[in-house]
């Protein structure tokens, strides 16, 4: 595995190789948050389980958002839960990524007619990767995580870090997020 050397407008000669090395490290250490809301949570567990062992790629779960890099929106999100998820996201340290796992987190899925379900995680979070399926197989989730890895590989990290931390996705709730919780 050789570091990807990018000579893009952001990278340039000096930062390119270092960026490549740093990104190589970052992409192999994606820690995801141990958090699932519904059906997909079971598949999330199975993904960490023996057959689709995500630990091979250096992906382990952490139980606190402070130490997690990836937030996997696993399952249906109700309005009551949405503000909490937003809070979890805000508590994560940059750089952070969001995977919408399953139809419910993508668009609300089966629950279009429901009065209590958020119609898609991207209505309140900047989502990086969408995984279809109801629920997606562990292999799909693995692929989703690998897409995040590919995304990390392409990031001009040093330049961005010197500036400020910001996801390249527009944040649907750019202000303080949801209303403060009681």
């Amino acid at each position: 595995m050789t570091p990807t050397i990018e000579r893009g407008p952001e990278g340039g000669f000096a930062v390119g190789p270092i960026d490549g090395l740093l990104n190589l490290a970052r992409k192999h250490s994606l820690w995801y948050l141990l958090f699932g809301t519904a059906c997909c949570a079971i598949e999330l567990m199975q993904t960490g389980g023996p057959r689709t062992d995500t630990d091979r790629f250096g992906m382990v779960f952490r139980s606190t958002p402070r130490q997690a890099d990836v937030l996997v929106l696993a399952g249906t999100i109700s309005y009551k839960m949405a503000s909490r998820i937003r809070l979890l996201y805000d508590q994560m340290a940059e750089p952070k990524y969001v995977i919408a796992m399953g139809s419910c987190a993508n668009t609300g899925g089966l629950f279009q007619e429901s009065y209590a379900v958020v119609k898609g995680g991207d209505l309140f979070l900047p989502v990086d990767v969408y995984i279809p399926g109801c629920p997606p197989r562990p292999e799909s989730l693995c692929e989703g995580l690998m897409l995040i890895q590919q995304k990390i590989e392409r990031e001009p990290w040093l330049k961005k870090a010197w500036g400020k931390y910001k996801s390249d996705k527009p944040d649907p709730m750019p202000t303080e997020g949801c209303e403060p919780l009681r």
């Binding site: 948050l33 141990l34 958090f35 699932g36 809301t37 519904a38 059906c39 949570a41 079971i42 598949e43 567990m45 199975q46 389980g49 023996p50 057959r51 139980s63 958002p65 399952g75 249906t76 109700s78 009551k80 839960m81 909490r84 979890l88 089966l110 629950f111 007619e113 429901s114 009065y115 209590a116 379900v117 109801c134 629920p135 197989r137």
Partner: protein, 377 residues
């Protein structure tokens, strides 16, 4: 920091917010824990973080059209929710289910029960700090997932049953695979026992902890393994037989207070281990006498049950799983209500939590086997 201490009305009481994102709350479930140091004054559950309005959705769907939604009532015991709903509609319609379909239903239900208990037992051990048994059970669960996937094309939300029968017939090859799985899995239960069930620390953590007496269990409407752990010998499969269960021969494990008092956490734990064995037994019987014939009764495409109401229950992995269905003669249900084990199971926590420690609360939640979608629907 002082702010935290001052925030509590009673200066000797610490109010902890546990969840909805907490590693031991299994999905989205929240407790407001009033503690005095490590010892709890009370724990007040706060549910609804996965409320999806499935009962309202039922009023907008036709009878067969609601079947996929029943999968999401409880993603760990999909077959049971399917079956509860299907039997409710069949009762209203007065449909006779063919015998092969009945046995197939029992077969997939018991397989699903094993899968569900695997997650439960794994979560119990994980919450008590032992991570490995959980992963071992996940590994075994993958095999059931394989079988289910071969049968109905999905690993988790099977949508296998139909009103009047089941959707797919099983090939012989699948039955052989199931037998191979049973040969494999029955020793694994023993292995699980020797690995963790009788581990001294686990017994110390669960024996004599959070004892629920039979009276409380009945009063709070606990069902299934939780009720049986309290010493009430009641199983819907045996006592209000439905489907093909009258033909089956199985034992109903009841809490014996093996390592403490009847109704403690250990009883709730070990009963589930026993139930997996009994499920294997039922599965073998299903394999031995699977009748030939149709798998689906003749049911109109758009059934219009007569005006009336019905309550139908099955014994799910978390106990009595009931559907209360009101029909007004149209193709859509007028009202549908799910009666689930977790909802009742959780309501007892506030009652029994006083005097437990925070670590015990984790054991209680895990052994009561509450699961968010079933409570919130």
């Amino acid at each position: 920091m002082t702010e935290v201490l001052q925030s509590t009305p009673d200066r000797e009481e610490l109010i902890l917010n546990m969840g909805p994102h907490h590693p031991s709350t299994h999905g989205v479930l929240r407790f407001i824990v009033h503690t005095d140091g490590e010892i709890m004054r009370k724990a007040v559950p706060d549910v609804g973080y996965l409320h999806r309005g499935l009962e309202k959705i039922a009023e907008l769907q036709t009878y067969p059209g609601y079947m996929p939604f029943t999968d999401r009532i409880n993603y760990l015991e999909v077959m049971f929710t399917n079956m509860a709903y299907a039997t409710a509609v069949e009762k209203l319609l007065g449909t006779e289910v063919p015998p092969r379909a009945e046995v197939l239903r029992v077969l997939v239900c018991e397989l699903n029960r094993i899968a569900s208990h695997q997650i439960t037992l794994g979560c119990i051990t994980m919450d008590l700090g032992a991570f490995t048994p959980f992963v071992h059970l996940l590994r075994e669960r993958e095999r059931i997932n394989d079988l289910m996937e071969a049968l109905c094309g999905n690993r988790l939300t099977f949508n296998y049953m139909r009103i009047g029968g089941v959707s797919q017939d099983v090939p012989d090859e699948w039955l052989k695979q199931l037998e191979a799985f049973l040969d494999h899995f029955e020793p694994v239960i023993d292995e699980f026992d020797s690995l963790i069930s009788y581990n001294e620390i686990l017994i110390k953590r669960m024996g004599e902890v959070a004892v629920i007496c039979a009276e409380d269990a009945v009063g709070f409407g606990l069902v299934g393994p939780n009720l049986r752990a309290s010493g009430v010998d009641w199983d819907v499969r045996r006592d209000l037989p439905y489907g093909a269960y009258p033909q089956m021969d199985f034992q109903v494990p009841v809490g014996m207070g093996e390592k403490g008092t009847v109704g403690d956490c250990f009883d709730r734990f070990i009963i589930r281990v026993e139930e997996m064995r009994q499920s294997c037994k039922i599965l073998r019987q299903c394999l031995a006498n699977l009748p030939e014939g149709d798998i689906k009764a003749k049911v109109p495409k758009m059934p219009r049950p007569p005006k009336g109401e019905v309550y139908s229950c099955v014994e799910g992995a978390r106990g009595e799983l009931g559907v209360y269905l009101i029909s007004d003669g149209t193709p859509k249900p007028y009202r549908l209500k799910w009666r689930t084990g977790s909802f009742a199971g959780l309501s007892i926590i506030e009652h029994i939590s006083r005097g437990l420690m925070i670590a015990d609360l984790v054991a209680v939640i895990a052994t009561l086997d509450v699961i968010a979608p079933e409570m919130d629907r």
